[in-house]
């Protein structure tokens, strides 16, 4: 797979494909080999498209909304997590993929799931406030990490290691030791959460990502909440220096009034931060507060993932469409 970093040109972004799923989409991921893209839906299914042909196959085994997807590094296995609390592993290359294993991973909703760099571990988190590290070999729990004071939303492995980071609904980011003990470090991003009365936290760490160089950890979510039940808030990304824990300038969309949550932020290998906010795809240069470009899309986006060609961004939409945007000039070819 050749990369095309030099062709990355958000100002020239244009719609590449628009595929219809069976229901509203909550999440999507592109396989590291670039052959498939998968999306999770609120009709409890996963849709798998073959990128070259647009051919769609439905994967059915979850019993609630499918909230998170993650591919193994070799692209052979799709791991999915849903509001049924299940972690399911799929042989994604099969003509009609079936569950290889179904694990009841959490009591209540499973919120976050990620695969380690070598594919040997999966980390999950859920409404039971637990973070669990699993072996993909025998599907046994390697460690259960406790300490989040409220529901953890998302998890990631620290690049190249078995160390875990997790972010919760009240804005804590915990960095955990590999297999045991409490959190080694805490990053305080509580500014991106608020409370509705005393009852319900709103916001928190919606997604976590590391910069390509590994020097920053970035949380996406929302802030500036004026009326939570009405959805009056602004999308934001908060970054920390991974080594020192120093908080770095926030990145938000200042050029346009958007009631939005940044449901996911991902880094382009060149360092540009890509964030989805309502119907917009925003682009930030490292360290700059405001977006340098916005790409409008037809509907609300709830997840996105960058194709390994580094110029195609796949977006999962509320209207049940999976769209791809080429972040490059029309003549660019991966």
């Amino acid at each position: 797979m050749t990369t095309h970093r030099n062709q990355f040109a958000p100002h020239a972004a244009h719609n590449l494909s628009d595929w219809t799923a069976t229901a509203k989409l909550l999440c999507c991921r592109v396989d590291p080999a670039g052959k498939f893209v998968a999306a999770g839906a609120i009709d409890h299914t996963i849709q798998r498209w073959e990128i070259a042909t647009g051919q769609r196959v439905t994967l059915a085994a979850h019993e609630n909304w499918v909230r998170m997807l993650s591919f193994s590094p070799d692209g052979s296995t799709l791991h999915s997590g849903g509001y049924d609390g299940r972690w399911i592993a799929w042989d994604i290359h099969a003509e009609t993929p079936q569950p290889r294993q179904i694990i009841q991973a959490h009591q209540g909703w499973l919120r976050g799931l990620a695969v380690s760099h070598d594919g040997l571990r999966v980390v999950t988190c859920g409404n039971d406030r637990l973070v669990k590290v699993w072996s993909t070999t025998d599907q046994q729990v390697i460690s259960t990490l406790t300490g989040h004071p409220h529901i953890p939303y998302c998890v990631q492995f620290v690049p190249g290691s078995y160390e875990v980071v997790s972010g919760d609904i009240v804005g804590n980011i915990f960095h955990w030791n590999a297999d045991h003990g409490g959190p080694a470090r805490k990053f305080d991003a509580s500014e991106i959460h608020s409370n509705v009365g005393d009852l319900a936290p709103f916001g928190g760490i919606i997604s976590l990502t590391f910069s390509p160089c590994g020097k920053r950890i970035t949380a996406s979510g929302l802030h500036k909440v004026s009326n939570a039940p009405a959805g009056n808030r602004r999308a934001v990304a908060v970054s920390f220096d991974w080594a020192t824990g120093e908080k770095l300038p926030k990145q938000e969309c200042l050029r346009k009034d958007l009631d939005a949550t940044m449901w996911r932020a991902v880094y382009h290998p060149g360092g540009t931060l890509i964030g989805i906010a309502e119907k917009e795809i925003g682009f930030w240069n490292p360290g700059e507060e405001d977006v340098f470009h916005l790409v409008p899309t037809p509907e609300h986006i709830f997840d996105c993932d960058l194709h390994p060609n580094q110029i195609d961004l796949y977006t999962a939409h509320f209207d049940g469409h999976l769209r791809a945007f080429r972040l490059a000039a029309a003549e660019a070819q991966p």
Partner: protein, 431 residues
Amino acid sequence: MTGNQYTPCGTIDHGLARRQFMGEFLTGAGTIAGTSLFSHPIGAGEIARQSRSVVVVFLNGGISQFESWDPKSDLETGGPFRSIATSVPGIHVSELLPRTAQQMHHMALVRSVSTDLDDHGLANNLVRSGRMTRSATEYPELGAVVARGLERPDFPLPGHITTMVGGVGGRANNAAYLGPRYASVAVGAENGGIVNTQLPEGMTVAVDSRRHDWRRFVNSRHRSRVQSAEMDAYTQSYEQALRLMERRELFDISQETDTVQQAYGKSEFGKQLLLARRLVEQEVPFIEIQHAGWDFHHNNFEFHLHYVADFDSPFAHFLTDLAQRGLLERTLVIVMTEFGRTPSINAGYGRDHYPKAWSIAAAGCGIQHGAVIGSTDAKGVEVTDRKVDHRHLFHTWLRAVGIDSSSQFDIGGRKFPIADPAFGPIEELLA
């Protein structure tokens, strides 16, 4: 007294309002003086009925029927919460209500409420008063009607109480032509009882008593020359406040054992329910507890996850506690809200206002336990069976506690039906 006897200033308003305190009313087709609104002849049964209470838990903002009493788990638009079985075979509610589900044998559900208004204020008034407020006529809310209907001579406490956590508020303006005597009094509870009810430091009971004697004397002299409903209400408020001060310990939930307090929980809602139980023990006719903030146009499912959890455990324990103390058989508990929420999901994963097909729950006295009234279609869009609205419900709540909802108030010679006379109760919901 049925003639028009106007106050010296001669205004009809004053005449009407003054008569509010005279306790005259009509029932059925004729005037009955000096009796009550009860739906059966006076006797031991009436005395029992007079000790009845109504507790309204008002989920202000509009709880989603899908995420509570009428789950549609199989629908794509039904949301991510499953339905669970209850203590009554065949009845399912949202999984967000695991503890309340186990009290369903004390409860009934109405899944076919259909109203017209999707504005919070107007809809709120609609379900509370059982009628549409017109510019010329405001109607008393359920609490005022119940306070009037279950009124007993010399009852030392207000008949219509809204609980608060901490603080104490004044009277609301929700009794319309029944007058401020029956309007709600906001009473706060925290450790030690009602705030601001201790005598100031240095003030003795004797001195305080002389102060009040002087106030009564001055009031009496003034009233001999000028009479007004407002003045009467003002005077009555003073006397009622004194009676409240004498009974401040009733509002002190810290007098409950640790076990009891822990069972109700540490939340504001739990504390208010515990206070409500203490007031039910005192036979206060009407108590309302507000649980506000349910207007989830955005993030509906996340917010319901937390809000219904805050409701479920204390509410279930409240029913258990009432039942174990033998209070539930004389207490009607209503879980009220102003409308439901859309069966569709908007792009913010919220649900918007939806008065067309929604649900309400009740428990306790006067209703069929384990009953489910009406139903909605598979998608929860339309009522398909036994459509009812605020007018039917208003009749039903009154009848459940023994008040004849077909009777009338006589206010200055004008007859005001207690409830909309074109409608009646949901008979199959009544015990």
